[in-house]
Symmetry: C2
Amino acid sequence: MAFNDLISGALTSTGQVRNEPVQARSSERIGALLDAASAVVAEVGIERLTTAMVAERANASIGTVYRYFPDRIAVLSAMSLRGFERFLRLSVEKLDAAQPTSMEAAFDSLVDAAVEMHRSEPGYTSIRLSDQIALPEVDGGSAASARIAAPLAKIFVEELGVTDEPGLVDRIDIALTVVDSLLVRAFIIDSRGDAGAIEACRRLVSTILAGSTVAA
Amino acid sequence: MAFNDLISGALTSTGQVRNEPVQARSSERIGALLDAASAVVAEVGIERLTTAMVAERANASIGTVYRYFPDRIAVLSAMSLRGFERFLRLSVEKLDAAQPTSMEAAFDSLVDAAVEMHRSEPGYTSIRLSDQIALPEVDGGSAASARIAAPLAKIFVEELGVTDEPGLVDRIDIALTVVDSLLVRAFIIDSRGDAGAIEACRRLVSTILAGSTVAA
DNA sequence: TCGTCACCGAACGGAACTCGATCATCGCGC
DNA sequence: GCGCGATGATCGAGTTCCGTTCGGTGACGA
């Protein structure tokens, strides 16, 4: 459906694996390595993750880690990218199911997707959208939210009949940034996701989106 | 003045230096080391900061770095904590000068202080981005915003005559979280701080604070 | 059965971190 | 003020640990 454009629109970044896998088992390996990395990050944090930990937890040797990733940081950003991609797919799924008729309703689906990511993916709260933790210039410097904002705006205009006023992309970007930070807050307060904090996030987002383009 | 309580109220965390400095030159040393760390972070990013770089830039030996900090990560979190402390002092200064009569006005001073931090402290934006995300257990896990929210609420009630309704602390915490993330966004868009983004941040905070305790 | 893909783990290099020697400062008796 | 012992502060070579490489071995596809 139309919401599907979100994925292709936002995922412009190139793959960062060293050698594209040829045999089937490779893809599983990469997945297992990223799962391991995610678990390690959740346990000891980004800074203390070592490539040896990742290898051990994935039942692989260090050499295997380096077969697929050029260095430690690449593991982290691949993990971040996979999380982002999963978030997008989940969002599309929920948008297709909900068939929202307003931006507010659409964002409800996005928040649902993000909450599910925080709950199901171990290291997600630590990494989420920001993969420029490492080097400021790693992917052009713009946050992930900025990358979805534009395609989202386009979809909203085309599908929901939202009027394409100037500042729309900005407002969406702001809403995404706020969702991101408030959900992290919700999951810091309570590792299962504080219900009140999530609810507050939803309400605030509605306010942001509803707010007319007042007072420039 | 009364605003001064903010500092003592929010800074409960214990020092993370290895040995409390006794002689005067030590404090200067620590300051120099943190200045160096901040500059290094701004230049090469958090991940690529090495203790050797910090030592060299501070005209100290590696041994001196490890005299004051147990490990590399401690340098980063000390830097983060000092930034937080400076932000608090700046805030108090600006609050004392502005003598606000409403929460909205008070938050204007806080935003001013934060913006100034981003502008003047080299690695501040980078550290704000990751902060305790990178180091889960570093300071009890609760975000910095949660630590200021309570003392801030107390001050607002006592000094500004704000009614002490339930959820006040929460709303302040949310406002602080949003300020943090939106200012980081403003400084990612433009390293000098995108004016429009900062303005949008101020407006949104007003909305959050003004919002009555509607729809629980 | 051969070529290629995937995997392993010992070995290398560099960064994190230690530790005993050396220098600076403080305080105390004179 | 002036030695002078005690303690703080600094240094940097040395050690350990971790990120990364690379040549050898097993597994799959044709």
